[in-house]
């Protein structure tokens, strides 16, 4: 079996963000970058499957971006992936999900993967489109927002998280793409010895121009911080009057009393 895990490197979400000069993305200087949280679940699940199958599957981890994304690739290698593929792109934020998916598809077509894991979305852009687009482009089965994963005899049993906390079970035959959600697993720590051993693993370096065949179908018009919220309403009067006012607001402006 050949497995691909697609990971993105994103800024630390505790950072203070501000728009960049173009006004269509955030300023990246001074930000600390790390692996997208949902992609950590994807790496962990891929490595667990590899272990379940007696370490037979080869797990490749792919990331698109400037040189700094090698850190995310190396983290995945330290967690147990076998080889890396760095798609060298100094400005991946300028590409829409369609282009990103088409780049991954171009890479994957030559490799013959049976199963692709990725996060359900990135923490920065959050489009949640890349996984499903890759599945469509490759003609693979697809299940999103996995909170449970089991594999036996070429069939994946995927527990999915649906709207309102409802769970659903989907069965998929390989080849397939699955996207991973919080709760699927607890990603292992890259141990210090494994971080050092990962230095010996291969990382392919592929210029993005070799794989980019598609034009963007969407573009970011503007990136801006949310407007400051107005001040709250202070209700005044005696208790009975306050209750009436509050009741009126809840009835008119919310659905809690319907």
């Amino acid at each position: 079996m050949k497995i691909l895990v697609c990971v993105k490197q994103v800024p630390d979400m505790e950072s203070r963000f501000k728009p960049d000069g173009s006004g269509t993305w955030f300023e990246e200087a001074d930000l600390a970058f790390r692996m997208n949280e949902y992609d950590e679940y994807a790496v962990e699940q891929a490595v667990q499957l590899k272990e379940q199958l007696g370490n037979e599957p080869e797990v490749t981890v792919l990331s698109i971006g400037p040189d700094r994304v090698n850190e995310a690739i190396k983290k995945a290698l330290a967690m147990g992936c076998d080889r890396g593929a760095h798609i060298q792109d100094p400005a991946p934020q300028g590409k829409d999900p369609w282009q990103i998916a088409s780049i991954i598809t171009q890479f994957a077509q030559g490799e013959g993967f049976d199963l692709i894991f990725t996060g359900m979305q990135s923490q920065d852009r959050g489009s949640a489109q890349v996984g499903v687009l890759v599945a469509e482009l490759l003609g693979f089965a697809c299940a999103t927002t996995l909170v449970g994963f089991a594999y036996a005899d070429g069939v994946i049993t995927a527990k999915r998280e649906l709207e309102g906390g409802i769970k659903g079970i989907a069965k998929l035959r390989l080849p397939a793409v699955v996207t991973c959600q919080l709760g699927l697993n607890i990603p292992r720590y890259p141990t210090l010895p494994n971080i050092m051993k990962a230095k010996k693993k291969e990382i392919l370096a592929i210029p993005v121009a070799d794989l980019l065949k598609e034009e963007a179908v969407a573009s970011t018009a503007r990136f801006y911080p949310p407007a400051r919220k107005g001040g709250g309403i202070v209700l005044e009067g005696d208790v009975g009057n306050l209750v009436e006012q509050l009741y009126g607001i809840l009835k008119e402006k919310t659905t809690v009393l319907r």
Binding site: D12, E14, A32, K74, K75, Y189, P190, L192, P193, I195
Partner: protein, 392 residues
């Protein structure tokens, strides 16, 4: 208490790190956030060491990580090792002390001075945390002047040695499976590995510390302890340079570690100053508080650059113990002052255990004195620049 996810890096020193060094720090930071910060306050209050963390830290490779892979270690750069100490001490100096002793004071001497059989027997077990070690040099009457030690070892017949004496202020002493003990012999000072349970060897715990409360500190007592030369004697070093070589390793880690404690206090104080309103403004908007914060972050930054350069020199094998002295002396000194200043910014809240301030400040009182007192390091630097020893 919210946990800031990034360390303070005003001058961008992380731009000088390799990917592996960054990942080592990330693993250590996550471990401290997940496993240490939620429980450390209670351990410090109860004067207990969080011993359930010992095997976890072993699994992650935190013990002796700059020693070679051949012995079950990670083979990290010295800078990565320093970053690990920084993050551990951001959790607590007691935890960093545990790792320092295990790695620099027990595994290092076995690696540097031990026989191949001793290395193969002990290092993988110590690296995994299956066995715990301690280091016995300081005595009740000999702290800064270890050359005066009274603990002695006499060669007996049949390849045996007899050890008598006592050691004091020994981190991990009561919980250790093996003690690296330095003793006076006819041949000068020699190192011995003494296993727990050897007749005549005991390690009573010292109680009542106001510092390093989440760390075990003990006496070691040797009454006609008989050890086997082949198993016990470290064959490849004679004289005080043996223990001093270990101390240089540990002091290097402390120089990084103390900044971790300082960073925890600085970040707590900064967050507090931004959210605490007095006279209708956050106290961070007042000049007196800004001056404190500016000076704190400046000292953390200078300390980081100092150990970064020292770490790179150490990676090249081109550093001196006197350089390590400067880093240990300076960084612990600035760290303790940063903790105390953080306390003043946080007002009365600063004394409460829900904030890390007093725990770190008190821990650093011990760190200020152990592994070469602040004053001794000043004299070592003084000797280096003048060529005149003021203490010998």
């Amino acid at each position: 208490m919210s946990v800031t996810t990034e360390l303070t890096d005003y001058m961008g020193f992380q731009g000088l790190l390799t990917d592996e060094e960054k990942l080592v720090r990330e693993t250590a930071r996550k471990f401290v956030n997940d496993e240490v910060l939620p429980i450390i306050e209670e351990h410090a209050l109860n004067e207990t060491f969080p011993s359930h963390l010992i095997p976890k830290m072993g699994e992650l490779g935190f013990y002796g990580p700059n020693l070679p892979e051949k012995y079950g270690c990670a083979g990290l750069s010295n800078v990565a090792y320093g970053l690990l100490m920084y993050e551990l001490e951001r959790g607590d100096s007691g935890l960093r002390s545990f790792a320092s002793v295990q790695g620099s004071l027990v595994m290092y001497p076995i690696y540097a001075y031990g026989s191949e059989a001793q290395k193969e027997y002990w290092l993988p077990k110590l690296a995994a945390g299956e066995k715990i070690g301690c280091f016995g040099l300081t005595e009740p009457d000999f702290g800064s002047n270890p050359a005066g030690m009274r603990t002695n070892a006499v060669r007996e017949a049949n390849g045996k040695w007899r050890i008598n004496g006592s050691k004091m202020w020994i981190t991990n002493g009561s919980v250790a499976d093996v003690a690296v003990v330095w003793a006076r012999t006819d041949d000068g000072i020699r190192g011995f590995l003494v296993e727990k349970g050897t007749p005549g060897f005991s390690a009573p715990k010292m109680h009542g510390k106001w510092s390093l409360r989440a760390s075990v500190t003990s006496e070691l007592v040797f009454e006609d302890v008989i050890v086997d030369e082949e198993k016990s004697l470290l064959p490849n070093v004679k004289g005080l340079k043996g223990p001093l070589g270990c101390l240089t390793q540990a002091r290097y880690g402390i120089a990084w570690g103390a900044l971790g404690a300082a960073d925890a206090c600085y970040q707590a104080a900064l967050e507090y100053a931004l959210s605490r309103i007095q006279f209708d403004k956050p106290i961070a908007s007042y000049q007196l508080q800004q001056r404190k914060l500016a000076e704190m972050v400046t000292e953390i930054t200078k300390g980081q650059l100092l150990v970064m350069q020292l770490g790179r020199l150490k990676d090249q094998g081109n550093y001196s113990p006197a350089q390590v002295s400067m880093a240990k002396m300076n960084n612990v000194h600035v760290a303790i002052n940063i903790c105390r200043t953080a306390r003043t910014i946080m007002g009365a809240n600063g004394i409460m255990s829900e904030y890390p301030i007093m725990r770190h400040a008190n821990n650093l009182e011990a760190v200020y004195t152990y592994e070469g007192t602040h004053d001794m390091h000043l004299l070592i630097i003084g000797e280096k620049v003048t060529g005149i020893s003021a203490f010998r």
